[in-house]
Symmetry: C2
Subunit: 478 residues, 2 copies
């Protein structure tokens, strides 16, 4: 092991020990204490908004408007999870009184409680420097569940991450809570990341990022002597289907809406539409032409990191070189951002060519020309699981639309019947997940209030004395 | 590939295709249709009880009383899941109306629905020829969720499994349902089992069995191009703690109760107590002596298979040969069953010796002598995750008992404050799972009505037309 590696491992041991030490107190904390921390973190973010957005913009180039919106969302969801805690969600019990007599009807008294999984290793994403980072949804939901959080910062916004962490650590201190509730590591190697995932004190892992990096850590979690739950969001191609009905009022407006979504944030969204199914007819031709025109006019800002830019250029080159694709938009880049790209392929060629199905992270998409709803369904079945599937023009209750809606729910975690998939509301009904590789754990969500469930494990208490249940919500001094 | 292997793979392809073809109909089935099948299966089991119990006893040696009870439990839980379906559990939605305005407060209309995972490969257990087999809890909960089930029979009761399947298939046919809803494979090799787990048509796997076999299939599921959820129950040591308070009324009765639990069903229960923590004092000495006496008098019936018997003999030999253990019960076997065994070790020696922590499936247990509650906690932290932890004499609200209850909920999926862990009630509050290796998916349960959640995945429908939600519960013709 190199000296650097040893230093990193020692830093991880240190924060893991702090988190481990804080875990018993935090799991027993009352709803008032937990909600006060979450609300305090939201207020501290807002109080420092101007400086944080400046710093974040200088590191990521995402722009003040976007970063202000993202900071507001991050504060909103911290407060949202505080409300969940106050409503008693992580303390919820299911109680079955004893029934006299022989089994199967006779039974003991059982109370099902929820137990926090312990310290959560949280791997920040590159593309949301607030909402999927130090104080993002994974941190908020894990803290709400009663789990300490070990933040692994993303190097794409390292200074911002450190600053947000310092602000957060001050709130923890001001509220007289142990520092181990929220800890921080940065500039870790791949080996150190795996070391963190395999640390004995870590009870669960949350990850948002690349397929390759995510799979490596998922395997590390599964190779522990005692594997722990791993929640990874690894990639998504987000098919969007333009049915002929969607173009009955013209092609220009829908094409402009879609082009803006493809280029939004320089395409650096997990929910960025990457495959556009368009019918092979005159209206479809006009739509594709308008889409190409509108996308060609987009001037995306620079990408988050040099590595992401290189991966984007490699990805579009792969698509451009493919025998089955035609390039529709390919201008030289105008300035710091990459050139948006649009490709076209016929469904017959697309469906069997898995190399065309891979996510290209950035402002690029593939138009797949189809002749029937059956061909759309073939495309949805061929591609891997996605966070979203969008159906434009599927409003009417027809057999074709029923079949399409069915195929869409098989392929994704969220099905939109209008609008664009970029933008994910923080609500109870939200589901941000989906079949592999959209999520390594497709029954869970990383956005919305159900995210809290990822960090809790049921335990059935059998014939427990009353105090065992009473001490659990922190309302009784323990 | 051998000819045998090719035949097995072809048989698996056949049932997987049938299940795949039946999946769309079954996921859209109404609560009436689904509940009628579950209730029909329960009634058919009961109508054939005498013949099935005879056949099962001849194969397993578990005895008519036990098998009649198990059949009754199996019918009870089929009917229980029918009630869950009628109550609408698998059709449940969460609806968040649209809110006007900009995000984060503004949002589209979102309806979270539950989508069945598709065909479930269900690996039957050796030790519950009814309740964890063809029509057991995994099958009942998967069918209730809307998933077809591919049963992989256990060779320990192959004839019974085939007979139960034939009875069930007749019910499926009589109710005019496609045969693919419930299919059956038997006498499969390890390679064929992995082939089934990796089959493209399989959407989830349920497994109850050995650590080695379970881990192999779990890895196979994770090595699919697109991994799917795997629910495995792989083993459990089930610590039972005898606090001094539990012996204040004498040692004989508790010792007899415990000895009967250790030897129940020849110790072939996932919840059989394998580690008994007893204080190192006079009452503890008397209890251990009574336990040894009572266990020595037990005459367990024969084990389920020759392989299980060999593994038991190997396991007890390993314990007997260990330098840190003392053998307390070791009579020659009297007849067809194995000899019950009891060993003793001191906590200091036990905690650090992981070879003493391994489950020995059968009527054996290790008494661990402790000097303090802290040492009990050390033992609970040292052993792997368990389905159950039992605390005798922890009724009073003391700091020691709080610490013990906390350690117990960390180590297990069910914590008992009295009684013995063998016997698992089918209720809403039940949790039959626990940290690895008790479960590969510790947030889920394989017994009780929450088991249905394993086979459903949330999908958020955004701005969906009303028919999209309405057709989902089968009440609208689709």
């Amino acid at each position: 092991m190199s000296a650097d590696q040893a230093t990193m491992f020692a830093a991880i041991d240190r924060v893991a020990e702090l988190a481990h030490a804080a875990a018993p107190m935090w799991r027993r904390s009352s709803s008032d204490v937990r909600a006060a921390l979450l609300n305090g973190l939201a207020a501290a973010l807002e109080a420092n908004a101007a400086a944080l957005v400046d710093l974040g913009d200088s590191e990521t180039g995402l722009g003040a408007a976007r970063l202000n919106g993202e900071l507001a969302r991050t504060a909103f969801q911290l407060r949202g999870f505080a409300s969940e805690v106050k409503a008693g969600v992580p303390y919820r019990t299911v109680d079955d009184p004893a029934v006299a007599g022989a089994p199967p009807a006779g039974r003991p008294h059982l109370t099902r409680v929820l137990v926090p999984l312990g310290p959560v290793a949280m791997f920040s994403a590159s593309n949301f420097p607030f909402a999927f980072s130090v104080l993002g949804g994974d941190t908020a939901s894990a803290l709400a569940a009663g789990c300490p959080v070990i933040v692994k910062a993303h190097s794409g916004h390292g200074a911002l991450s450190r600053k947000v962490f310092e602000i957060a650590a001050k709130v923890v201190e001001q509220q007289n809570l142990p520092a181990g509730i929220l800890t921080f590591v940065e500039n870790t190697s791949r080996e150190a990341n795996a070391y963190l995932v395999q640390h004995r004190s870590v009870g669960a892992v949350a990850f948002t990022g690349s397929y390759q990096g995510g799979v490596a850590l998922w395997r590390a979690a599964n190779n522990r002597p005692r594997p722990v739950p791993f929640y990874g969001e690894l990639g998504s191609i987000n098919p969007l289907v333009v049915l002929p009905e969607a173009l009955s009022n013209g092609e220009i407006e829908p094409a402009q809406t879609l082009a803006a979504s493809i280029a939004l944030g320089c395409g650096q969204f997990c929910t960025s539409p990457g495959i556009i199914c368009v019918f092979d007819d005159d209206a479809g031709d006009r739509f594709v032409a308008e889409l190409a025109k509108a996308l060609g006019k987009q001037t995306p800002h620079r990408m988050l990191t040099e590595g992401i830019r290189r991966a984007y250029e490699d990805g579009v080159e792969r698509l451009a070189d493919h025998a089955s694709t035609k390039s529709l938009v390919a201008q030289p880049s105008n300035g710091s951002g990459p050139s948006p790209r649009l490709f076209e392929a016929h469904a017959d060629a697309f469906t069997g060519n898995t190399s065309l199905h891979e996510e290209v992270f950035g402002p690029a998409a593939v138009v797949v020309r189809v002749r029937s709803i059956e061909q759309v369904i073939d495309v949805l079945e061929a591609v891997e699981g996605s966070l979203t599937v969008t159906l434009w023009g599927a409003g009417a209750d027809t057999p074709g639309n029923r079949a399409l809606a069915y195929a869409a729910e098989q392929a994704g975690g969220r099905v939109l019947f209008g609008g664009v998939p970029t933008g994910v509301a923080v609500t109870h009904a939200q589901h941000h997940g989906g079949p592999w590789p959209a999520s390594t754990s497709p029954q869970t969500t990383s956005v919305g209030y159900a995210a809290i469930e990822r960090f809790l494990r049921p335990v059935a208490m059998q014939d427990a004395p009353a105090w065992v249940i009473a001490v659990r919500d922190g309302s009784v001094q323990s």
